[in-house]
């Protein structure tokens, strides 16, 4: 069944038992993103390591989300990939995920490039075949990107 290429067991697991869920203190920036076409929502906080490193560690990402299995699982998988990583590494994961989502289901050519970086998140490969769901899969990542940009700015101002 084609559908199972989207609803991989890994995705359903994250959906049923999301990681890093809940809003926590302290945080440097908080954003609220919505997917206007379907009403998915995520509130997401980012906490970067203190100090003035060019490449700080992503200390925590906490969130509260409402949405479909794809968007919920995606934000959960995302936190696994970025929390505890350096900002550069996390950004690499972000870029890789975007690349994967843009393949329209034809991911063979990029798999080599993204596989190592994305770990569990390669399970979202099948979602890229469903244009209407790509936004769901991206929601959490976009929120993270936005919150991180704000957190960096805040740190720089401080």
């Amino acid at each position: 069944m084609k559908l199972e290429s989207m609803y991989q067991e890994i995705i359903l697991d994250h959906y049923r038992r999301p990681h890093h869920k809940g809003l926590r203190e302290p945080f440097d920036a908080e954003v609220h993103h919505v997917n206007p076409t379907c009403g998915d929502e995520v509130t997401l906080r980012v906490r970067l390591a203190d100090g003035c490193s060019e490449n700080p560690t992503v200390q925590d990402v906490s969130y509260d989300s409402l949405g479909c299995s794809i968007s919920m699982a995606s934000v959960s998988v995302m936190t696994d990939l970025v929390v505890g990583k350096s900002l550069d590494e996390a950004t690499r994961a972000y870029d890789a995920f975007l690349t994967l989502m843009r393949t329209k289901g034809d991911s063979a050519s990029v798999m080599d490039e993204v596989e190592d970086v994305l770990e569990d998140a390669v399970a979202f490969e099948g979602v890229s075949k469903y244009p209407a769901r790509i936004k769901c899969a991206l929601l959490g990542w976009m929120a993270w990107k936005d919150a991180t940009a704000r957190a960096v700015t805040t740190k720089e101002m401080a």
Binding site: M1, K2, L3, M6, Y7, E9, L12, T37, C38, G39, D40, E41, L66, G67, C68, S69, I70, M72, Y130, R133, C136
Partner: protein, 421 residues
């Protein structure tokens, strides 16, 4: 349960209903509230128009121009007849309901006193409006300094009119409401709202987008001032909508857009405007689309709108029964078929509608998921979105059965790992 329509024959008129999806699944199209399918008769009228008569209208005297004008204006006659307008010039063609409602909101706002909207005036809408009947009023009230207020919704998905006299006040200039909700299915008690609006001298705008396709619509009996609906939901093409208005009101209101067709006399310094309905139809109109809508109206009239309504009522009652027997399913909206249209929104346990819709699609069942452009309703009922099945004249009870079976499959799919297919 028997339908007054010969549905199997009706279905043969709709080419798309022969589609299969996902390799071999026959299409079960339960998304007519978003847009209806089109019968061959409508598609032929459009094709004939382009192949035989295509020309710009009104301004030509050559044969094709006269034919195209006669077809376009003939479509107006058909629509006027369909809604029982007192006068054909009360029928203004727009591109969709949304343009019709924006037109209404803007020209009322711009009008001279006593019509125009001013600081301190009030516009009343309802919490169950489609975004197309919310946002235009937000925009014009913001620009004019008028305030926007609204009726709430009861737990069973009806308008809460208990405080109607406090919501519609002497300062209310406009009351705009949806006749049939696209998300809840509710048919609203127009008479009561119109009566109160009349008491305070407010204009009444009715969003009939989900009414015109499904029920006999008589604009004179309705008693409103302006009524909007859209072609693509009533067997017609995309790109065409209608604003009906009382002739004397339309005459007083200023034009919405300026340009060709809508003028009487233009000099560089100033212009005067054409008579109704052209005053509100700037530019080359959606000619082929009006012709298609005319054919759609003929198609519906030949079946009989009372029969269409009866058929849908039957399907709705059947679907409500069967759906509410599904474990974990909660209908958002009236739970009986009384005063109710054929759009049924529901949530299934704590499954997100996106997931429900996706799995149904895999089975060939097309439902809509999301907020259905009525996000305040979702907020009111504390859900991020709903799954909506909506029926039309070609819908069958077998399709309802397919939906119910599909929902059981959905539950299994997302159930405990062991329960997955």
């Amino acid at each position: 349960m028997s339908s007054p329509l010969d549905v199997e024959r009706v279905r043969k008129d709709f080419p798309v209903l022969e589609r299969v999806v996902h390799d071999d699944k026959p299409l079960v199209y339960l998304d007519s509230a978003a847009t209806s399918q089109k019968p061959r008769q409508v598609l032929d009228a459009i094709d004939d128009y382009y192949c035989l008569h295509n020309s710009n209208v009104h301004r030509g005297i050559h044969t094709l121009a006269e034919e195209a004008t006669a077809l376009y204006e003939g479509a107006r006659d058909k629509v006027a007849g369909f809604i029982n307008a007192a006068d054909r010039s009360e029928v203004v063609f727009t591109k969709n309901s949304t343009e019709a409602l924006n037109l209404a909101a803007n020209v009322i706002a711009w009008a001279e006193s006593p019509l125009g909207l001013r600081d301190g005036d009030e516009v009343v809408i309802t919490e169950m409006e489609h975004h197309s009947n919310i946002v235009p009023w937000q925009m014009v009230t913001r620009r004019t300094g008028a305030t926007l207020s609204w009726f709430g919704i009861t737990d069973d998905g009806r308008l809460d009119l208990s405080d109607i006299d406090r919501v519609i006040t002497e300062r209310t200039k406009v009351v705009s409401f949806v006749l049939v909700s696209n998300i809840l299915g509710t048919v609203n008690p127009a008479e009561q709202i119109v009566r109160r609006a009349r008491e305070v001298g407010a204009l009444v705008v009715v969003d009939a987008s989900q009414a015109a396709p499904h029920l006999p619509l008589d604009v004179q009996a309705l008693g409103a001032d302006l009524v909007a609906f859209t072609g693509h939901k009533m067997c017609g093409p995309t790109g065409i909508g209608v604003l009906w208005g009382r002739r004397d009101l339309l005459e007083e209101l200023p034009p919405f857009m300026g340009g060709g067709e809508m003028i009487e006399m233009v000099t560089m310094g100033s212009s005067t405007y054409a008579d109704l309905p052209h005053k509100f139809e700037a530019g080359t109109p959606p000619i082929a689309q009006a012709v298609g809508l005319g054919a759609a109206v003929d198609y519906l009239s030949a079946l009989g709108m009372d029969k269409v309504a009866e058929h849908e009522h039957m399907i709705t009652a059947y679907a409500l029964d069967r759906l509410q027997a599904v474990d974990g399913l909660r209908v958002i909206g009236p739970r009986t078929a009384q005063d109710r249209g054929a759009a049924i929104s529901f949530v299934l346990g704590d499954l997100h509608p996106h997931d429900v819709g996706q799995v149904l699609d895999e089975l060939g069942i097309a439902v809509r998921v999301g907020h259905h452009c009525a996000r305040p309703v979702c907020q009111r009922f504390g859900v991020p979105a709903t799954t909506r099945a909506s029926f039309y004249l070609y819908s069958t009870t077998a399709e309802v059965d397919a939906l119910v079976d599909g929902l059981e499959h959905v539950k299994r799919f997302f159930g405990a790992p062991g329960g997955r297919p």
